[in-house]
Amino acid sequence: MTVRVVVAESVVHGAGLVLPPEGTGPAESWFDHRARLGRGYKYLPPACQYLLAAARTALEDCGPEADPLAAAPELRGAVVGTNSAVAALHAAIDETVRREGASALSPMSVPYFAVNLVAGRLSTEHVLKGFNLTVTSPRVAGVEALHLAALELAAGRAAVTLAGAAEAPDPRAADAEPEAGAALFVLRPGGGPVPAGGRVLRTVLRFVPPPALAAAEGRRLARDSVRRALDALHSGGPAPDEVELLADPSPVGDAVADALRSWCADRAPVSTRRSGARAGALTPVVRLAARPLPAGAGRRLVVTASRAGNVALATAHTPEHTD
């Protein structure tokens, strides 16, 4: 490979997590949009409601002193990753059209067939005029969103960006576990001061074409790709204290697991507690937001691998000295 691995870095100023309480059943309603958001959010798909609630929490989490969005509206951006935010809506629209025709569709709900309206609502709520981007790669879209947000901040396309993931259960999740909820960060450019309670995110994206894994050469390229990503992610810094692998059971998952374990060697053991097929991109972002992080500026490494080939690697840590 002659091209370079790029690590994107950003500083988290606030984080918001909206998740169903432990033990919530799959069909159970757990989010009251009237109570959490107020009036006027009734027609939003649930993933959008979760995202808006997460944004409010993240902005409050930024602390009382400064205005978290202090930047001209045209320097505020949003990047959100999802796989299934509107899967249920598509299924419902399809069924209504088949049984009764398009004239029976609810005009207020239908615009959200365009998945980007889920993230787009953040822009109207918080006057973000810089840009609004929705990414949708299988399993890794949330980390992808963090990655692209950090790069846009580094390029000066924004001074502050809301970034994360939102999901709702996919009615066609098949063997994969459905996801529900949202995780959103308020990000500022990497290299900047880290506020108390904040953290630093570093991300790398990779791709392993599944058919190539049938051959030894393909497996070698995959292993090298993951190792180079891990090296770049940790360059000049300590090895991670916590390592989590979220992988689809698949040749890609196996290849990434092997590369990760051999790279970790006698370092922290690789936890596969949350591995398994999931129908969404939310869990990796939740794990990057989860508190507490390892003590003493230790890093949590979260590696995500989709059977489709997408791989994302991310670390979160709190520097020894914050602002």
Partner: protein
């Protein structure tokens, strides 16, 4: 905002699958013929009144293969166009193996998840248990990467009608950062009940044809297909024929209303100006505009006003090429198709005649040459793509000597 001395990004190959045919050559021939009409969608007309679309001709090879793991419709289009673009650019195996893939799509493989056309499926509304593994809706980019065995970054972008525009910016940035030397950049959309029915429900569908800027226009008409461009760094493009360069792109967001566009067009003016600024070009350098031009009553008027504001007194002398009249509104693929059109116009030095309007709307008096081809007087083409939801994109493509 962005550094002025940024590395060049070249377009070295193109591919296209559209209602005009399965290749970029068929696409250009179809643009020159100026005779497109949309057709009724089989299996849908009884549910969605007056539904029409610009459909990719069925050549018999894309048999509806519903077996698990089979490529979806949008992915099949994307792969065909990607292979054509790779061949057109003359990429070697090593370059393909290292390539990044960035593809924009609004609804991905939604069409593949639909229930049977005759209403089969769980009659009580419970979801059908899908056999085997979860098939993500937005799997187009990863499917292309898998089939072509690429190891570069692989990103799926879903900003509705501007998706492949945003994808293009992401691709350009990959090259500028040195993260990729070669990117397969594109957009893909397959016909699906959900977007067609939704357009209809929202009163955004024209029952006859897609006729942007026409006084009688009543909305847009969906189109399917895929367009792919090979983007390369200067190092990788050295020694190859090039179509031109992506000189500048820009993003903005209306943040005005959840579903309605901002009638003032402030963010549309801003995004066009920012793209021109990054490109280092002015109104007088623009040889042609490929507008977003959907055929909805509101868009076309606002876009005319935006062009008048941005191009000033050059506006009346800058021809538009109203692409959606030829291939419909290809949603996530629209910007990529516009970029392919720009590359072809620069290559051929001409703008094909627009499809004749019955009568142009006096409220959007853009210059739409209809009588024959127009010479491309400046080798720079401005492309607009405005996503439903208020995410806006403009690009400046530049041909001519490097």
């Amino acid at each position: 905002m962005r550094p002025s001395a940024t590395p060049d990004v070249f377009v070295t190959g193109i591919g296209a699958v559209s209602c005009l045919g399965a290749t970029a050559d068929a696409f250009w021939t179809g643009l020159k013929a100026a005779a497109s009409r949309p057709t009724p969608v089989p299996g849908l007309t009884e549910h969605v009144p007056d539904v029409l679309a610009y459909q990719v001709p069925d050549d018999g090879t894309a048999a509806a293969d519903a077996s698990p793991g089979a490529l979806g419709r949008a992915a099949r289009f994307a792969l065909t166009a990607a292979r054509e673009a790779v061949t057109d650019a003359g990429l070697g195996a090593h370059e393909v193996a290292e390539a990044a893939v960035v593809i924009g799509t609004a609804v991905g493989e939604s069409g593949g998840r639909e229930g049977g056309h005759d209403g089969e499926g769980a009659g009580d509304g419970t979801p059908e248990p899908a056999a085997g593994s979860w098939e993500p809706m937005f799997s187009v980019a990863s499917a292309v990467g898998a089939e072509l065995a690429t190891f570069g970054p692989n990103i799926s972008v879903s900003n509705a009608c501007a998706a492949s525009g945003y994808a293009l910016s992401v691709a350009v940035d990959l090259i500028r950062r040195g993260e990729a030397d070669t990117v397969l950049l594109g957009g893909a959309e397959g016909i699906a009940r959900v977007p067609l029915a939704s357009f209809s429900r929202l009163g955004a569908a024209d029952p006859e044809t897609c006729r942007p800027f026409d006084a009688g226009r009543r909305g847009t008409v969906f189109g399917e297909g895929a367009a792919v461009l090979v983007l390369q760094s200067a190092r990788a493009a050295a020694g190859r024929p090039v179509y031109g360069r992506v000189l500048g792109t820009a993003w903005s967001c209306d943040a005005h209303h959840p579903t309605a566009p901002d009638p003032g067009g402030e963010q549309l003016v801003r995004v066009a100006r920012a793209a021109l600024e990054e490109a280092g070009r002015g109104p007088g350098d623009v040889g042609c505009v490929v507008p977003h031009g959907t055929g909805t009553r509101q868009n076309d008027v606002v876009e005319y006003q935006v062009l008048r504001e941005v191009l000033g007194d050059r506006a009346a002398h800058t021809p538009l090429f109203s692409l959606k009249a030829f291939i419909g509104h290809t949603a996530g693929a629209a910007a990529a198709f516009a970029a392919v059109s720009a590359a072809l116009m620069v290559r051929h030095g001409e703008i094909p005649a627009n499809i004749a309007l019955a009568r142009q709307d006096p409220e959007c008096p853009v210059w739409l040459p209809q009588d024959g081809p127009t010479a491309l007087r400046q080798p720079n083409v401005l492309v607009n793509a405005y996503a439903f939801g208020g995410s806006n994109f403009t690009m400046v493509f530049g041909g001519g000597s490097r």
